[in-house]
Symmetry: C2
């Protein structure tokens, strides 16, 4: 029996999210269906680094599963891609230690949020970036984003119906960078609460469009109430970009091998 880790990218548009849900098309169910075909009908459960919501994309999702098949990692990649639908692509596979765990072993994650600015939507990016007509005040967004760095209680940036008790998380990197078509917001941290990135982006967009001033970010964070923060930004601008396990899992791995840019 070996434990395999795989890195995958997916276009979240046509999925009801990552996690299995009865009667719905999800990333997990498609991957498990592919594995079941490869294992001649035997069920092979997979464990991912975490869920992504409906419409959210990934280019660096990592999952693990156990198998008795003796297939070389590079052949696992092609075997899986042969059995997967064309909106999921496995880019890497490796044999890992038997105690590797895709969820509990994740030390940090990076999410990227793509925004296109301008009078018209770029029709080719409409599923992969959120379109904002107004010009954005990027320096104000950058100033506000800096308040998020460090260890804080992120209750204000967590969906109100979340039951998790400890809402303290650490953000190690946040950047609001102008891109060719608009803006790229990247956020790296040791863990994220439900909808945390999308609420942060929604709040930054309200600052960028002048509805709020940059200094409010600090007040919102200190207030620890979801009501204080901005709207949850749409799912389709968000991408799980990278999961960090403290060591490279795959041979020849380059971050962002498959980019949404």
């Amino acid at each position: 029996m070996s434990r395999m880790a795989c890195k995958l990218s997916y276009d979240g548009t046509a999925f009801a999210g990552y996690q299995v849900q009865p009667g719905k098309r999800t990333v997990q169910s498609e991957v498990e269906k592919a594995l079941q075909e490869i294992h001649k009908g035997a069920r092979v459960p997979v464990v991912a680094s975490g869920r992504t919501d409906a419409g959210v994309h990934a280019c660096g999702q990592v999952l693990h599963f156990d198998t008795e098949l003796a297939i070389a990692p590079e052949r696992w990649v092609s075997a899986l891609n042969t059995h997967l639908p064309d909106d999921i692509v496995v880019t890497n596979a490796a044999i890992v230690e038997p105690d590797f765990h895709a969820r509990y072993g994740a030390q940090a994650k990076e999410y990227r949020y793509y925004i296109q600015c301008g009078p018209f939507e770029n029709v080719f990016r409409r599923h992969f970036a959120v379109h904002i007509k107004q010009a954005l005040d990027v320096p104000a967004m950058q100033t506000a984003a800096k308040h998020l760095l460090g260890t804080h209680d992120f209750s204000a940036f967590c969906a109100a119906n979340t039951t998790v008790a400890d809402k303290v998380r650490t953000i190690t990197h946040v950047a609001v960078q102008p891109s060719e078509e608009g803006l790229l917001i990247s956020i790296r941290g040791t863990g994220f609460l439900y909808n945390m990135v999308r609420i942060i982006v929604g709040t930054l967009l309200e600052i960028g469009t002048g509805k709020r001033v940059a200094a409010e970010m600090k007040v919102i964070l200190a207030g620890k109430s979801r009501n204080l923060a901005g709207k949850t930004a749409p799912a389709h601008g968000l991408c799980l970009y990278e999961v960090d396990y403290g060591q490279p899992l795959f041979v020849n791995e380059t971050p962002g091998q498959v980019s949404m840019n």
Copy 2:
């Protein structure tokens, strides 16, 4: 009565091509439906610079129509976008001379063909670029492409079932450029035969993958037979990038305003 010209971009994935076909979803039928709604039920026929096939995209398609509505050009843009589905976006509108004709007035067109290279398909670009696993011999493709420049009988690069008599066309620009994810092939000319760009690209790909040598391009052109050229490249890598009317049609126009890159 004024004659309006519009520039539009569309994601060709979900269309059975540009031209109206009974019972099928086409770009023209969606635009005419939007115009009919704006004109309170009256039919408004549109004339485009030319057709595009099923799966082919556009970021610079131009069309004209006649209207009795006195709406300012910038308001035409938003009125049309309000009534159009989200895979068609009008980016420009202008009142033109009554004798302007989107098809007969077109002096040149530029098509772009997008290729992604590498071991895995970029899932986010799968509808907008053709994926080739093998490394391509770009210098050979560039050498071959140069043979296309100028005025030639392009019979070898025209779908065999075409009835058009005169197959002489002029290519004024052709470039095979490495891009971040692969290759961009751009071809500009005074006119194109049916499937011409896709057969040229298919032939260039056979040269790039070493199935043919660059010098064959000249032989194929001289042979004037469709059988001599390569396979027709897939539709989804192709984009009608720009139509040139010898003068700017729209205010604030920048070529490639909406880019597939």
